[in-house]
Symmetry: C2
Subunit: 351 residues, 2 copies
Amino acid sequence: MMRKNSRKLHLGNIQIGGDAPISVQSMTKTDTRNVNETIAQIKKLESAGCEIIRVAVPDDDSASVLKSIIRSINIPLIADIHFDHRLAIKAMENGAHGIRINPGNIGNLEKVEKIIEVAKYYDSVIRIGVNSGSIDKKIAKEYGFSATALVKSALGYISFFEKKDFYNIKLSLKSTDVKTTVDAYKMISKEVDYPLHLGITEAGSAFSGTIKSSIGIGILLYLGIGDTIRVSLTADPVEEVKVGWEILKSLGLREKGPRIISCPTCGRVGIDIMKLSSAIEYELAHMDNPITVAVMGCIVNGPGEAKQADYGISGGGGEGVIFKKGKIVKKVMENEILEQFLNMLKEDGIK
Amino acid sequence: MMRKNSRKLHLGNIQIGGDAPISVQSMTKTDTRNVNETIAQIKKLESAGCEIIRVAVPDDDSASVLKSIIRSINIPLIADIHFDHRLAIKAMENGAHGIRINPGNIGNLEKVEKIIEVAKYYDSVIRIGVNSGSIDKKIAKEYGFSATALVKSALGYISFFEKKDFYNIKLSLKSTDVKTTVDAYKMISKEVDYPLHLGITEAGSAFSGTIKSSIGIGILLYLGIGDTIRVSLTADPVEEVKVGWEILKSLGLREKGPRIISCPTCGRVGIDIMKLSSAIEYELAHMDNPITVAVMGCIVNGPGEAKQADYGISGGGGEGVIFKKGKIVKKVMENEILEQFLNMLKEDGIK
């Protein structure tokens, strides 16, 4: 899993691309003009681990309030712009660290050029966000809504930006179809070295959206492609951030708090694993230490099967064991497993 | 996404490998000896789309009741055996279509040979299930718990089975670590052509287990590897089946009922997309027709952005539209969108 080397950008206080950690982003679902509500949502997202926030800027008032919003938050803000280049300009004037546009719906390239001029002045990042619903009409005629169409659209815009001597670019090529998205990112990553923002567009509910995003983003990251990710869900944006982090943790790309593994339970299990692992997940949710904890259903198999875990517990038939790296370190009563385990973490200084 | 050509096996009334559809399996979480409860759980799993069921057989009584269970269900049954080769034999005598063993914990190869003899007699399938917790000790010493260790363990067992002239084999090489699992399957798929059963072991809760399984199984399927899948979750096994199907649907490998796409909602949205898409997901859950339905937040952008969807709805500001393939076919009142949309599906004969 060698990460493709992309050029590095600065977005407010964070870096994207190159050897910078792959960042997790999300988008507010509030009416941007409702400043207090928007700030409150961003604060919640920050606590969940959101590292870049995007807000919709569909009108003049939304662009004006960005200044107050940015003053109250700690992560860089991207303004999401459609149709009206003046909103993009106003967003940057009001402090947006970056903007996301689809040059195809800005009207014409003269207007895009105006955006570029202002972005140069403020050293703002522009994400060129092409998606399957907004492919250039001529290209769509020849290539349909394929990965090739997404890539050709993106390359066309990139070449325009480069002609205007602007390279502070991030790219996204999103489709609602997982394979099309993966193919498009694979293709574009061979053509250019701009940082890539990964996501599946309109991925759906928390259930299907989580699965589609995990597969699509997961495949690309496995292939070494991608510098920042956003999981789109028709759900609370905090869920998007949680899923994003879990994807990065699953592939060993970032660390954030404990990792709980647990056996799926079967007819052999003598203890309520579902209840126990939920309780552990809850108790450990606020820890920073990236320990791995195994919750296993068999006293006999559990410790061996979970040798790689830093800590583990298993129980059944009134008895329980706590183990470290596969070695049993304490035998306890079944109903005391959780308490004794938390005590041990405390003794070991795990926070 | 060219699927690797594996040899085809027959397991009861279904096929695994070759050009057979990639099947979805799960495992009961009941005490197998509780026949009624076990049958009830399998029936629920069948309704959810489970195509192969595995049950734990930890003792003599569990093996005996398999006959009654199999008589009452419609999908092939696999007995999950650890430690005691006599249970494997008894399970096959009682009609199990296949067994899953980890030859490493059966005791010695003479006992494995006894299992093979009986499997030949009953034409049963044997899954050789190697996982990171049960790697051969000598191999673990040299290779740790790496992908190489999983592959070396598996190849050793396979060569023993082949020497005994037994080829009715399925393989799994599961780790709790996504990358290790992916690497192991990639390596083994180059060495042998037995059908591969994919999964991440002890994947965790419904949340993290869904994500890890989607990434791991998703990467492998994308690479053309895998013939049958099981999502392991510390949750109701019906969830395992649902996630399994969603993975296959997301990659276009199987079809099952409608596919709902929905925009993640943003500050531009004038309608409660979360509520509407949940309602649509609920209303369409029992349909067989694999239509794609888009639930979008903008009357202006929605139809265009979701051109590829068979049907779509969007609304805001009291108005709503229903569209087909990006073309608006009906304007309705916002509060009537759902009802009018369901009527249209009925008129179009979508079931």
